[in-house]
């Protein structure tokens, strides 16, 4: 059967929410036109031995623009995302000025339009992320914002958080929370425990996160709001979310690659590359995060990609800004730590946690699959067996704060297609 397909991705193993099958996939324009055997097209992309999956979706990326363009721009961050297999990212609002008004939302969306990744944005829950006054969530929802968060900090005031949830439930939007009780975490720079004792650094206990998880679960129950828990890092948090879900609450949660890969022992050399909020925790927490993702209690892997300039990361550990890069390493870390590690997660579940599940949480209809005729052609081709060593270059990001330098991983994105356009070919960004 002849077809007018522009591109045929041949011989890959197609993985989406409905299952796995080996087949060809044909793209025309911005759509998938056919999935089957023996497809023809103007250009053939050989996907033998590879996975063909929906493009990955990152619920949590810091693109730094406007305000900190020396660390990252929307363009460079989107390129790093595309190289990591992402066709959609959600930008976090802790920019300068913060994304709490229609003007800034429009600016970010405008800057993201030509980018090699579909850039969506979150917006702040409170004006200026100051935790005092509600931001105009209705106006911003009308511009397409689906998820609101004060990320960088959590909303501290219980009453304000309740009001925000009640208001949000009327709008059908989701509130995402950076769970950190500032009275317990103020002035700290790592996890409180044996390592913080040895290193002489002020630490925050797991309870600094867990108390807010507990509060928000209770308030979600009270208000009926949809709540998403960002970058979960402790075993206690995972347990509480599991219980809340078992009780029927519609909460969702994400975890970042560094929280299922690295522990607080990494801080031993005082390299601020390993400083992050929430901090790297103990071995038991890392195991719980991995298990939580494998069991589905934690719905999604979100990178919390947080670029910082080398000058900033060279400051003394307690003064350096928190955060690490993640977009180009998340998939490989997930395969290496979760599939090959003790959690023994299935590869398809990893793909799910990185594509259709976050796409659903973010309300992105064109991302996450399923890969069928008529669907938007947002997909990536992954070589699951490719072994590589993470270097210190930082990839396409403007920054280089990579905590995985020298780590051997497996799984690499070969091609990424954004609405039918091949933005990454053989691991190289095309624009």
């Amino acid at each position: 059967m002849s077809s007018a397909a522009d591109i045929v991705i041949r011989g890959g193993r197609i993985v989406d929410e409905s299952g796995e099958r080996t087949a060809d996939l044909a793209i025309s324009g911005d759509r998938i036109v056919a999935v089957g055997d023996g497809l023809e097209g103007d250009r053939v992309v050989d996907a033998g031995g590879c996975l063909v999956t929906p493009g990955l979706v990152d619920l949590h990326t810091h693109l730094r623009q406007p305000g900190r363009e020396e660390a990252e721009t929307i363009d460079s961050g989107a390129r790093a995302a595309a190289l990591g297999g992402y066709t959609a990212v959600l930008a976090m609002p802790n920019t300068t000025p913060p994304i709490d008004s229609a003007a800034v939302v429009r600016e970010v969306l405008e800057l993201g339009r030509p980018a090699p990744c579909d850039v969506h944005t979150t917006a702040a829950i409170t004006v200026g992320r100051a935790g005092e006054q509600l931001a105009p969530m209705g106006e911003l929802a009308a511009l397409g914002v689906r998820i609101f968060t004060d990320d960088g900090t959590g909303v501290q005031d219980d009453r304000l958080m309740r009001r925000a949830m009640e208001y949000a439930s009327g709008l059908g939007i989701t509130l995402a929370q950076h769970c950190e009780v500032s009275s317990l975490s103020e002035g700290t720079c790592m996890h409180e425990g044996e390592w913080s004792s040895r290193l002489g650094l002020p630490g925050q206990p797991s309870e600094a996160e867990e108390l807010m998880v507990m509060r928000d679960i209770a308030l979600a129950r009270l208000t009926g709001a949809r709540v998403h828990f960002q970058h979960m890092s402790t075993a206690g948090s995972v347990a509480m979310i599991a219980a809340a879900k078992a009780g029927g609450l519609p909460v969702t949660a994400e975890a970042a690659p560094h929280h299922f890969t690295l522990t607080d022992a990494c801080c031993a050399g005082y390299d601020a590359t390993f400083k992050v909020h929430p901090p790297l925790r103990a071995v038991s927490d890392v195991a719980a995060i991995a298990a939580g993702l494998a069991s589905g209690v934690l719905d999604a892997i979100a990178t919390d990609h947080a670029p910082h300039t080398p000058e900033d990361k060279e400051r003394p550990f307690d003064h350096a800004p928190p955060g690490m890069l993640g977009l180009e390493y998340a998939l490989a870390l997930a395969f290496t730590q979760l599939v090959d590690g003790e959690a023994a997660m299935a590869e398809s579940d990893v793909i799910g946690a990185m594509s259709w599940r976050p796409a659903r949480i973010a309300g992105l209809e064109h991302h996450g699959g399923p890969l069928v005729a008529g669907a938007a052609a947002n997909l990536c081709v992954i070589d699951p067996g490719a072994r590589w060593t993470i270097d210190d270059s930082g990839g396409a990001s403007r920054s280089r704060n990579v905590p995985y330098v020298g780590r051997e991983v497996r799984g690499r994105v070969r091609h990424t297609f954004l609405f039918g356009e091949q933005v990454v070919s053989d691991g190289e960004a095309q624009r």
Binding site: S196, L201, D392
Partner: protein
């Protein structure tokens, strides 16, 4: 000066530097303490100077002010005939934009062999060691370590008690925020002594299982059986942080009062890193007792620092080699 790739993960060769007591093993500590004897003798001469580090430049980079420690290091370097330079960098000038890395690279461009670093943030000496070819000596970083203090404390204790194996040492006070305490815990346990931390729970590190120590929340039961009562400075800032209710309550529970000092063993030593808050952690009268060796600690500081500088710069071999050849 070799150009260094910014953000490169250069591992630090801890044997070239003195960053933490934890980097030293028992043999290396013994070597340093024995070497100190030599420099005590030098200090007693009418010309207390040897040409061992002639032509070397030793720079003090103190981001946190400390006249006493800086003077002690300066004297030590000068007595070894090294040239010295002193950069008293106030933390505000660093906050104004010149980074620690820029500062050290500027200094190094002038040609230096060793840099003595004190900073209010833990880990800065370790970071500096990644950015310079010079030898780095930690003169106190945040809450983390003050290795030369621990060395002079061990030297002083040893000079009175002999071998510290099996001895019992109590470290009393604000251990949580004390770099002197962390260094001394590691120093005394490495030498085979048993260390007990004495403090209210709020002034102890969150997880004391990081070390092989005992913990007591009361000072009185500990007094009769210890060979050294090491008192830490109690800072009044701790009250505003809700760590202790009042200084008076602290003294009542943990201060070495005259009455408590009477209950120490006859041979027990009273030590303090200085400067003392008389009337708070130690009664004024107690500081003058014959078994209070605080001024000796200070006096030994110069000889200890000479030993450290000589071993790291002048002996032609650094700390791990000492260990390898001894075995």
């Amino acid at each position: 000066m070799t150009a260094r790739l910014r953000n490169a993960a250069t591992p630090v060769d801890t044997s070239r530097h003195l960053l933490s007591v934890g980097d030293l093993d028992r043999d290396q500590i013994a070597e340093l303490l024995d070497l100190t004897d030599t420099f005590v003798e030098v200090g007693q001469r009418s010309i207390p100077k040897v040409p061992a580090l002639r032509g070397r430049t030793v720079v003090s980079l103190f981001f946190e002010d400390s006249t006493r420690t800086r003077l002690s290091f300066d004297t030590a370097a000068k007595r070894l005939s090294a040239d010295t330079m002193s950069f008293g960098v106030s933390s505000s000038s660093v906050n104004k934009g010149e980074s620690v890395r820029d500062t050290i690279e500027t200094i190094e461009a002038m040609g230096i062999d060793a840099v003595i670093v004190r900073h209010s943030s833990s880990g800065v000496p370790a970071q500096i060691a990644r950015w310079t070819d010079a030898v780095v000596v930690n003169a106190g970083d945040g809450w983390h370590q003050h290795p030369t203090q621990a060395l002079l404390d061990a030297y002083t204790a040893r000079s009175h008690l002999g071998d510290l194996e099996g001895r019992s040492i109590a470290i009393v006070g604000d251990v949580k925020h004390s770099r002197v305490a962390r260094s001394n815990i590691e120093m005394f346990t490495a030498l085979g002594a048993h260390v007990t931390l004495v403090a209210p729970p709020t002034l102890l590190p969150p997880d004391t299982t990081a070390w092989d120590v005992s913990v007591s929340h009361e000072l009185d039961p500990v007094l009769p059986r210890i060979d050294v009562c090491y008192l830490l400075r109690m800072q009044s800032e701790r009250m505003t942080e809700a760590l202790i209710p009042t200084l008076r309550e602290y003294t009542a529970g943990f201060g070495l009062t005259s009455e408590r000092a009477d209950r120490l063993g006859a041979e027990a030593l009273i030590m303090h890193p200085g400067p003392m808050n008389r009337g708070v952690e130690i009664a004024s009268e107690v500081a003058e007792r014959p078994n209070a060796v605080i001024t000796e600690q200070v006096a030994n500081g110069v000889a200890v620092r000479m030993a450290v500088l000589f071993l790291l710069l002048g002996s032609g071999r650094h700390l791990t080699q000492v260990h390898e050849e001894a075995s």
